[in-house]
Symmetry: C2
Subunit: 247 residues, 2 copies
């Protein structure tokens, strides 16, 4: 095993998750790496433009990292399929639309499209992670996985915005309802006052992420017409991915 490579990635991940530039000492301590070792790795990462170093020395993610990361969307071909559909959704509903996949116990947001015009623009969520079982996109993805697989993708430690713990039993019931309705919701579980509606997209191998929209709870009466639009987009993505929508 090449410890320095693993450490380099861990360092990048740590800095990426921090909202502020990090000094060497903080990095070394957080990852339990000797300062001198961290120093060498950081030097190399800076030299390769994967990190940038400010002065006084603090490290942030650099352009090269962005460039490499952007290849993921191109390579997976997701952006080309999902992008136009998100544009359609934001145009029709005037809500922010996004696409997210399950990664570990969290939903990872891959694409976002803000509504046209000068409406509310939610804080950028591309690259963000949120607990899968608290988000509409996460629940939509989980619903068709089967109970055994769900436990692998959920961290029950996480509580929602109202402080309510999530039990497997309760989640299981909600996912059953998601399958029934064809869409999942989140009403303030992540951010109070923000509601989300999402529906899953499938490829030939099964669920592959979900498309969702976010909006102010106060701005809507009925979810049905919104859900219908979201499900239509999700179904279309499913078709493009070569998958089949469940009954």
């Amino acid at each position: 095993m090449s410890t320095s490579v693993v450490r380099a990635i861990r360092i990048l991940d740590l800095i990426a998750k921090s909202d502020q530039p990090m000094p060497l000492a903080a990095i070394a301590e957080a990852l339990d790496i000797p300062r001198s070792t961290a120093h060498v790795i950081l030097r190399d990462l800076v030299a390769e433009s994967v990190l940038t170093c400010g002065k006084p020395p603090t490290y942030s993610v650099g352009v090269k990292a962005f460039e490499i990361g952007s290849a993921y969307l191109r390579g997976s071909g997701i952006a080309a399929v999902v992008g136009p559909e998100l544009a359609r959704l934001t145009g029709a509903l005037r809500f922010t639309a996004h696409y997210a996949i399950l990664d570990g116990t969290e939903a990872l947001y891959l694409c976002k499209e803000d509504p046209p015009g000068l409406g509310i623009r939610l804080a950028s969520s591309v690259g963000a992670r949120l607990p899968s079982h608290l988000t509409a996109v996460g629940k939509a993805s989980l619903a068709w996985l089967g109970d055994e697989a769900v436990t692998e993708h959920v961290s029950l430690k996480t509580k929602d915005a109202s402080g309510q713990a999530v039990t497997m039993k309760r989640l299981s019931a909600e996912l059953a309802r998601v399958r029934e309705l064809g869409y999942a919701t989140d009403d303030g579980q992540i951010t109070a006052g923000i509601r989300c509606v999402a529906a899953p997209a499938f490829d030939a191998t099964g669920p592959r992420g979900a498309i969702g929209v976010s909006f102010l709870s106060s701005a809507t009466e009925s979810l049905a017409p919104i859900a219908a639009e979201v499900m239509e987009s999700a179904a279309r993505v499913t078709t493009l991915l070569g998958g089949e929508s469940p009954a």
Copy 2:
């Protein structure tokens, strides 16, 4: 120096720039690394989800890389400033708008906003690189750098779409004209039939990327009203960045 870290990054960069998943042998040969060494590094990168490995074994950029890379836009604060401005531009002009910075001898595209509705959606360009002296965004950024600095950011080897070589003399003259007008153009130098107009944004330290729009050459008569909109957006970004627009 930690060669394995540098090699890991080079490997990631190589795979990111390839449009197809790469097998170990191709990677090892391209970077002149022994196969066995490359194998160890690839194993670690896959274990950390920075790469994914298909079967038969071919490597592509993984989700972790995307997640790390997305931190660049958040951290630099660019997306928050530029995003709304791009939205305004696409809304007003119905063209695709983008923001790019100089990186080495190329322009690196950081943000893109497609026009609302079902209009033409240009192929996703986020993360793409194009020669700085052939693109409108590149030329807009170069124009206010000073001739000495320009040579560092330009690779004169690159020819434009019409096969015409670019001399420093000719470029210098064009940049002078860009300074005069306040905006730069690209009329088919990258892609025949596609025209771009861009204007630079400044922060306190100098030029910091450029905002531009792309459209079909056939779809426009006069550049002036388009350029005016682009320059207005660029000026607004400049203000937000704490910079000052030149005379």
